[in-house]
């Protein structure tokens, strides 16, 4: 019983770690897409910031400096996306893909030029990386029944970015639904003409939304290279940007449902790691590929079964042109 409890706790613990970059990236996508700009370039922005963060952290030895530069890199890429899609009304999907591709090539190229380690950054250690934090009383309460392990195993012991991601959800929700900025972002994604005629610049709002996207994406990427991991490796995002996008659509562009979609992806991922090779009574050992496919199968089933039609922001994907 206690074992089973701990087992579940550890799975959930892993879920949080895996979900963190997804949550941050999906929220990043939310700001962009809520403002009407499709963001298929989450992958590239994350990868770019993972590289920038690791590069900076390895040079300066400071994880915080790394995070800052990682965020800056993601913002820069976000602005490039804005320049193409907002200023020049380019196709948003093409721009996002172009950014993904450019970054996938540029990061290792620069990495090789700077560090001569085959496109990777040197492994980070010490202050160059965000270490796990032990929350107050975690050790003291560890022995308490139920609550003890819950607190010390599950809540405590993550790096700071995990907590940032946890905080990002309510903050993002608050910004989106309770502030002027959020109101305008939502409006510009639904009906940019209404925003324009209300005397607000559509372009400025979209750019600002993209800055927020950059910030969140930057944190997500930094998590991969200087918090969860300890250095940059080429293509290290491994499709997480696309998964985050899927979570965003799954969550119907709303912060809390998106969080749950990310947690679901992460949970099935943590679960499949533990089911691989497990002997399931009555069935035997299932081929590993099927276990690995489990998260995806589950997602499809859930989508088909429970989640209704997702209605995207109305103006998404269309460059703003004054028309009637």
């Amino acid at each position: 019983m206690a074992d089973a409890f701990l087992y579940v706790l550890l799975i959930l613990d892993a879920t949080f770690r895996v979900a963190t970059p997804l949550v941050l990236a999906a929220l990043a996508g939310m700001f962009s897409e809520r403002s009407g700009v499709i963001d298929i370039g989450l992958e590239g922005k994350m990868l770019g910031s993972a590289f920038a963060a690791a590069a900076c952290a390895s040079v300066t030895g400071s994880a915080w400096a790394g995070l800052l530069v990682g965020v800056a890199a993601a913002i820069a890429l976000s602005m490039l996306h804005g320049f193409a899609c907002i200023t020049h009304r380019g196709n948003q999907v093409v721009s996002g893909m172009a950014i993904n591709i450019v970054v996938a090539g540029l990061a290792p190229t620069l990495g090789f030029a700077w560090f001569h380690q085959g496109g990777q950054t040197p492994p980070l250690s010490g202050d160059a990386r965000f270490a796990s934090l032990t929350l107050p009383f975690a050790d003291a309460t560890a022995d308490w029944p139920i609550i003890g392990p819950l607190y010390s195993e599950l809540i405590s012991g993550h790096n700071i970015i995990v907590y940032m991601a946890a905080a990002a959800v309510p903050i993002a929700a608050w910004i989106l639904f309770r502030t002027r900025f959020g109101l305008r972002i939502r409006a510009v994604g639904e009906n940019p003409h209404a925003v324009d005629t209300a005397g607000i610049s559509v372009v400025a709002i979209r750019y600002r939304a993209l800055i927020v996207t950059g910030i969140l994406c930057g944190i997500a990427g930094s998590y991969l290279s200087i918090a969860h991991g300890a250095g940059f490796a080429r293509d290290m995002t491994a499709g997480k940007g696309y998964l985050a996008l899927a979570a965003l659509v799954f969550g119907k562009w709303k912060p809390v449902p998106t969080l749950f979609a990310c947690l679901l992806f992460a949970f099935t991922d943590a679960l499949q790691a533990r089911l691989q090779g497990a002997d399931i009574p009555g069935i035997g050992v299932i081929p590993v590929q099927f276990i690995q496919a489990l998260p995806y199968i589950l997602t499809v089933l859930l989508l088909a079964g429970f989640v209704g039609r997702a209605i995207p922001p109305k103006a998404i994907g269309q460059p703003y042109v004054k028309e009637r």
């Binding site: 991969l224 969860h228 490796a233 080429r234 491994a238 943590a270 790691a273 590929q289």
Partner: protein
Amino acid sequence: ADFTPAIVFDMGGKFDKSFNEAAYHGAEAFKKDSGVDYLEFEVTQASQREQAMMRMAKKGANIIVAMGFAQAGAVEKAAKEYPDTKFTIIDMVVDLPNVQSIVFKEHEGSFLVGMAAALASKTGKVGFVGGMDIPLIRKFAQGYVEGAKYANPDVEVFQNMTGTTPAAWNDPTKGGELARSQFDRGADVVYAAAGGTGIGVYQAAKDAGKLAIGVDSNQNYLHPGTMLTSMIKRVDVAVEEAFTSAKNGTWKPGIQVLGLAEGGVGWALDEYNEKLVTDDMKAKVEAAKADIIAGKIKVTDYMMQN
């Protein structure tokens, strides 16, 4: 000099932190020793394998080293097309008069590190993280399991594969998570055979204060203190040797199987892990190594099974 060696790396790229990178180091060592530059190409698309080989043969390369089993088809075609060019393929057998096939007994090396893992484990549980579930990786896994069981028949071995797409070879984040999931289940030593994904595995071991085992090249230096050892596969030596022998005219076609006896595989002992490997462990592993060479211990070769 009119001697031109060439090498075609596979999709992982020459900096994959394992197999291809070892080959790269071998080629570089040759370049340093002989002063002869070499042609190289990193494949990004399945069709480029053949394209690259043909290009190099046409450019007058005397020997072309093809890295990895996936290049077999391309080598076969190119070798037939250019019968005067020498081809060396690593990790796969191509039976042609101008092809040298070098395969390693990874299972033997893995057996040794499996033993080391089981001996170093305090919990009696050890782990294995592979990249994709392909025969080559199963070969690693099987040797590892056999070694671990040999050292401790009660040992429990957890096995995980990272994914089903090529991204599985380059996903340190996922690798780290898989290692952690094994630690959560009680493992305290993990062995990674997963290319760049391994970086995440070693890092996770370091973060958790557990032990990890490197693969292909000697990766002990990455995290002194938590890298128990590395299963070395002397791809670098093989590549350098292929180049050198071709240059000296001693290159011979045919199959070369490099196992413990030939020094093609082994386990790494150096200053970075000397504190982790006890004398007792060392003695037992070395004894088993001798037994394998002597044929007293038979390590199953996954490839031979089917």
